[in-house]
């Protein structure tokens, strides 16, 4: 298949898809395409979309998806009559704990947050932002939590490693002094 044709097909596939399309899935549809030319095609397409004012192709949750750009949000919200909802602070703090420490048990989250977290965990499970990974092999066999693909989609992350490290956060929030120990800790996390 010629290069230009592949690109048009990939674009059409992305256009119709309501979830991120992985390279694997695209390769399945475009039978027999080799990895390298698929990746080149995707790169080319992404570059083309960078020229566009209103749309872009983003890598989210291990796949590619076409998104409208930020400036167009007001019109889209008006069309669909939606107001974006926001997670509560408690939910965000709990999610941060799960995302950075998974697999993690409830007691660990509560020891950091200092408050009961069972209600929040329940809500996050319902929203499918976290999932139960199994049980920890300690007394009481508590449930282990981890984040889901929907978590990555919700925050627009390519994968879990895209979460900023503590060091990067500190750079954004410069008021804190960093001790040597903490630097080491954040490096270990990366």
């Amino acid at each position: 298949m010629e290069r230009e044709k592949i690109k048009l097909i990939v674009e059409a596939l992305l256009f119709t898809s309501h979830e991120p399309l992985s390279e694997k899935r695209l390769a399945e549809v475009l039978e027999g395409i080799d990895k390298k030319s698929l990746r080149n095609t995707l790169e080319e397409l992404r570059r083309e979309y960078q020229e566009k004012e209103n749309l872009e192709i983003r890598e989210v949750a291990g796949g590619y998806q076409i998104f409208t750009r930020q400036d167009y949000a007001p019109w889209i919200e008006k069309l669909h009559r939606t107001r974006p909802t926001r997670l509560s602070r408690a939910a965000l703090e709990t999610l941060a704990m799960v995302a950075y420490n998974q697999p993690v048990i409830r007691v660990e989250i509560e020891s950091v947050r200092g408050v009961d977290t069972s209600g929040v965990l329940h809500t996050l499970l319902e929203k499918n932002l976290i999932k139960i990974l199994g049980r920890k092999k300690v007394i009481g066999r508590p449930l282990l939590y981890g984040v889901t693909d929907d978590f990555l989609k919700y925050f627009g992350l390519k994968d879990i490693n895209e979460l900023p490290s503590l060091k990067e956060i500190r750079e954004l929030v410069p008021e804190k002094e960093e001790t040597d120990e903490e630097v080491k800790e954040s490096e270990e996390e990366n």
Binding site: H18, Q70, A73, E93, V115, L166, V173
Partner: protein, 233 residues
């Protein structure tokens, strides 16, 4: 009736402590415990006064603060000075720092949430082929027709009448009905038939139309009701 207000600003005792440390502009590594504990208790009393739901966790922290305060007031024993004495505050400081770290992480998540919420992707599209319908077979049609015949109580008709309606007329009639409606259910098509003869003509007309690809028959689920659709032009 009591009001129950959840203080969104202070999610928990650690949050309140961090707030007080910032507000009083004190060093987190050298917290003036007496001062901060006093402030903290002041807030708890205020929360009680306002009949806010002062939960246990706030009280636990209050007692921790009092414990640290009392330990710091005690004179240190002489020989202990030689050794490395652990600051009674260190455990609390550690906890505060860790919590603060996650607060910052939660903040960056909130920023990402905000940014992502302004980007829209295609919602789940209605791709026609994904409709769960089966192409009904001739046998499905025959089965459905047999059911129709069964439902029509066997009338005892002794007169022999010529067919009043011809195949062509029935074909036209079905097509006409499909003009105004997207689909007709199979059983409805036969409901208005007056005689067994007309039932048969209707069925033959349907088969004819299928052969000519002027109508389509679909079944939303296996062995379900068959619907007759107008074939796309």
């Amino acid at each position: 009736m009591a009001y129950h207000v959840k203080l969104e600003a202070y999610e928990g005792p650690l949050d309140l402590l961090l707030y007080l440390i910032k507000k009083e502009e004190v060093d987190i590594w050298d917290i003036p415990i007496a001062q901060i504990a006093g402030e903290y208790l002041g807030y708890i009393n205020m929360m009680k006064l306002l009949d806010l739901d002062v939960i246990g966790e706030f009280l636990v922290m209050a007692s921790t603060l009092m414990k640290i305060k009392s330990r710091m007031l005690l004179p240190q024993e002489e020989e202990a000075i030689e050794e490395e004495i652990e600051d009674p505050r260190s455990e609390l400081i550690e906890q505060l720092l860790e919590y603060e770290m996650y607060k910052e992480r939660a903040k960056t998540l909130a920023e990402k949430e905000e940014a992502q919420s302004k980007l829209f992707a295609r919602p789940e599209a209605e791709i026609p082929s994904s409709q769960p319908t089966f192409e009904a077979s001739l046998f499905d049609l025959l089965t459905a027709f047999r059911n129709v015949l069964k439902e029509k109580a066997p009338e005892i008709v002794r007169e022999i009448e010529p067919f009043k309606i011809t195949l062509e007329e029935k074909v036209e009639e079905i097509l006409k009905r499909l003009e105004s409606k997207e689909k007709i259910s199979f059983s409805l098509l036969f409901k208005e038939c007056l005689s067994k003869g007309e039932l048969i003509v209707t069925f033959l007309a349907l088969l004819e139309l299928i052969k000519q690809k002027r109508v389509r028959i679909r079944q939303p689920k296996l062995f379900g009701e068959i619907a007759v659709y107008r074939a796309p032009a």
